[in-house]
């Protein structure tokens, strides 16, 4: 009786794929939570925790979350930037838990930008 069948090995592979994708940078979608002092004060931490939890619940292993500093628009914090591979990044502002859930459902999972919360599409120009 073999210890591990080919199907078992494949199952292990699927389980660890999440780490692999994170390390290779080969994700399909990236959510950046802006966590400058202003963001943290406005509740970016809750947004971050929510994002981590809903990615987990979605069972998708090709979506990653990362942090960055202040996006420069402190009065509109908390903010996140959603980047779908091959598309321009979208910044969302003045977020709360229910808004980020909606953004995740519609934009991250289904590719439809949630215009009512969107602040801008695209990044600032490089100098």
């Amino acid at each position: 009786m073999p210890k591990l069948s080919i199907a078992d090995l494949e199952e292990i592979r699927n389980k660890v794929k999440k780490s692999t994708i994170l390390r290779e940078g080969s994700s399909v979608a990236k959510i950046t939570v802006h966590m400058g002092t202003c963001g943290i004060a406005a509740g970016a931490r809750t947004i971050m925790d929510t994002v981590i939890r809903i990615i987990e619940e979605s069972k998708r292993n090709d979506i990653i979350v990362t942090t960055s500093g202040c996006a420069g628009f402190c009065s509109k914090e908390p903010m996140v930037t959603v980047e779908i591979k091959g598309e321009a990044p979208v910044k969302y502002s003045s977020l709360n838990e229910s808004k980020i859930k909606k953004i995740f459902e519609e934009h991250v999972l289904n590719g439809k930008i949630v215009e009512e919360y969107a602040l801008a599409i695209g990044n600032e120009r490089e100098p």
């Binding site: 073999p2 069948s5 090995l9 389980k15 390390r23 966590m35 942090t67």
Partner: protein
């Protein structure tokens, strides 16, 4: 009792790296180079600081194998952001954790700045050292924890094994490897597929396969790094090789001087056994194979395959004459296939990606990539994997960052003590077995020692010959005594006692040693001397005729004098260990040549350029 795999899976989940919550992974380089720079301490402090900030459920710290950029260690790469931090000291860590992981602001001052430039490069993929490389053998470097088999599995690990078990016959495997054009990465460059075919077709039972990890060239650490960062790639390669030639037992011959590599290989073998990837009825396909480690005592000659097998058998490590070749009569007189670590690590990639893709990289007769360890007078000391066909200059300048301190690039020693010196004028030579051989050097296992204008070529030849002379097993007279005589002549030349005709004597001895030695050690030992004579004959002549060392490196041929710029500060006199320097305060000092031992301390101390080295 055999644990069920479901049981194992739940254990794995508890272990943490299958935990899905982490948003970021910190890949701490834990190759030997970084470990000696304190990488384990950095890892420990990072974990403590992350815990202090309450981020331990979001950020995972992973110890990986060698990232390759050894000069900049300790190194941490932050994923998925791809931020590369280098030269990390324990004091930096609280700031780093607070700024980057808590507040999301990458820390500029800990990023890499290329030599001679002013702006930092945040992303690893934008650093020239990394983005000019092409990874096959080192495909998992820095991406997996070498002591976690699941990390390897997540990066397509053991997929090649599944492919051969399900769809390929031994003949198919051999023909695929033949088609790929892979040649032995240990230095000889013998076609791997052909080697397997001969062993597969020879009669005898059982058959053995061996992994040669007896890497012994001074300054070479390719195989060590592969095993330290990705031991399963070697195990998987050997499984595929065993399936092709019909072996059920394998040995990894590794030198005991590689404790970290041995530890990681042992743990990899144990985990593979636990998963049933080694042992009986592998993956339920009726194939049996197991592997053991044999630790060698570190004799250079044991890298030669017949001496290596003698050592495994418990005999003194001495070469035997060939034929019969190991493929016909090897370990315990049975058909045996020996390949080097890097060769084995290439195998799973070739099986998974196809021979054509491998063969599309490189030159007509040298396919794929080659791993080199860059050492010596070079900015980016480290481990690199480059496609065959790249030029020496590209490796040394584009990847290696050139020679430090504005010195001129003079030559590069390839192939270790069996290789030769390639001068700067031949910097356009491409990396390819035949092109490198044409220069008189050899591809070798991948050691690349870079030299600048202050390196004396006679001294270099003496250094390497001293090594082979000490490592000669003594079986063949010419290798045993001939190398000793050559070494004496070189010593004499460096001491300023060289005689007319010494160069010719060296050449004559070299030819005889090459002709009458049984194994590769003796046959190649004179190469460093021959190539330095070929390209730097004028340096030998200057030593012999003018009693001068053009690189100002041979102590006996150098004199130190104080010039008129001396302001009489007395700094040199204070550091002189033999009190050879005298003079009044604020007056020009003088060196008593009879007392001077030419240590160079005064030269290094003087701030006014008033000491001349002649």
């Amino acid at each position: 009792m055999v644990k069920s795999w479901k049981n194992m899976l739940s254990q794995l989940e508890m272990r943490g790296n299958l935990n899905m919550e982490f948003r970021s992974h910190l890949m701490v380089c834990a190759g030997t180079g970084c470990v000696s720079n304190g990488a384990f301490n950095v890892k420990k402090l990072l974990e403590e600081e992350i815990k202090k900030r309450g981020l331990e459920k979001e950020i995972l710290v992973v110890a990986t194998g060698c990232q390759g950029f050894c000069a900049q260690g300790p190194i941490v790469v932050v994923q998925p952001d791809d931020i590369f931090y280098q030269l990390i000291s324990p004091e930096d860590i609280p700031f780093l954790v607070e700024e980057h992981f808590l507040k999301g602001r990458p820390v500029k001052k800990m990023m890499y700045t290329p030599p001679g430039e002013k702006t930092q490069i945040p992303r690893m993929s934008e650093i020239g050292f990394f983005n000019k490389q092409r990874l096959i053998a080192l495909r998992n470097k820095g991406l997996i924890d070498a002591e976690q088999i699941d990390d390897y599995i997540g990066r397509e690990g053991y997929n090649a094994l599944i492919k051969v078990l399900q769809t390929m016959s031994p003949d198919d495997i051999v023909s695929e490897i033949k088609k790929s054009g892979l040649r032995g990465r240990g230095g000889g460059g013998f076609p791997t597929g052909l080697k397997w075919e001969i062993c597969k077709n020879s009669k005898g039972d059982p058959k053995y396969i061996i992994c040669n990890a007896d890497e012994g060239d001074p300054g070479a650490y390719m195989d060590r790094s592969i095993i330290e960062s990705d031991p399963h790639s070697v195990i998987e390669g050997m499984l595929i090789g065993a399936l092709a030639i019909g072996a059920h037992e394998g040995v990894v011959y590794i030198r005991t001087e590689y404790p970290l590599a041995i530890k990681r290989l042992e743990s990899a073998i144990e985990q593979a056994r636990e998963y049933g990837l080694l042992g009986k009825d592998i993956l339920g396909k009726g194939f049996d194979f197991d592997l053991r480690i044999k630790q060698g005592a570190g004799a250079f000659v044991c890298g030669e395959e017949t001496a290596l097998m003698a050592s495994i058998e418990g005999k003194r490590g001495m070469p035997n004459k060939r034929p019969p070749f190991p493929a016909e009569s090897g370990l315990w007189g049975k058909p045996t296939n020996i390949n080097n670590v890097e060769t084995w690590a290439n195998i799973p990639w070739i099986i998974l990606n196809g021979a054509e893709r491998f063969a599309s990289i490189g030159t007509e007769k040298s396919k794929g990539t080659k791993v080199f360890s860059l050492v010596g007078k070079i900015n980016n000391t480290g481990l690199v994997e480059v496609p065959m066909g790249i030029t020496l200059k590209e490796i040394i300048f584009d990847i290696g960052g050139g020679v430090p301190n504005g010195k001129k690039f003079k030559a590069v020693q390839m192939g270790g003590p069996s290789g030769g010196c390639i001068p700067a004028e031949l910097g356009d030579t491409i990396i390819d077995y035949d092109s490198v051989n044409a220069t008189g050097a050899i591809m070798g296992s991948g050691g690349m020692v870079v030299m600048d204008e202050t390196t004396c070529m006679v001294d270099v030849a003496k250094y390497f010959l001293n090594f082979t002379q000490a490592e000669s097993c003594g079986k063949c007279t010419f290798c045993r005594i001939g190398t000793k005589r050559m070494l004496e002549i070189l010593q004499r030349i460096c001491d300023g006692k060289g005689e007319e005709g010494d160069i010719e004597k060296l050449q004559e001895l070299a030819a005889q040693i090459k002709d009458s030695s049984l194994c590769g050690l003796g046959q190649t030992a004179p190469n460093p001397v021959l190539t330095t004579i070929k390209y730097f004959r004028h340096e030998y002549e200057a030593h012999i005729k003018d009693k001068k060392c053009p690189a100002k490196s041979c102590k006996s041929l150098v004199t130190y004098d104080i010039n008129d710029k001396c302001i009489g500060c007395g700094a040199c006199a204070r550091v002189c260990p033999t009190k050879a320097i005298t003079g009044e305060k604020k007056q020009k000092h003088i060196i008593d040549q009879a007392k001077c031992i030419k240590c160079g301390a005064c030269y290094d101390t003087c701030k006014f350029n008033s000491i001349d080295k002649n």
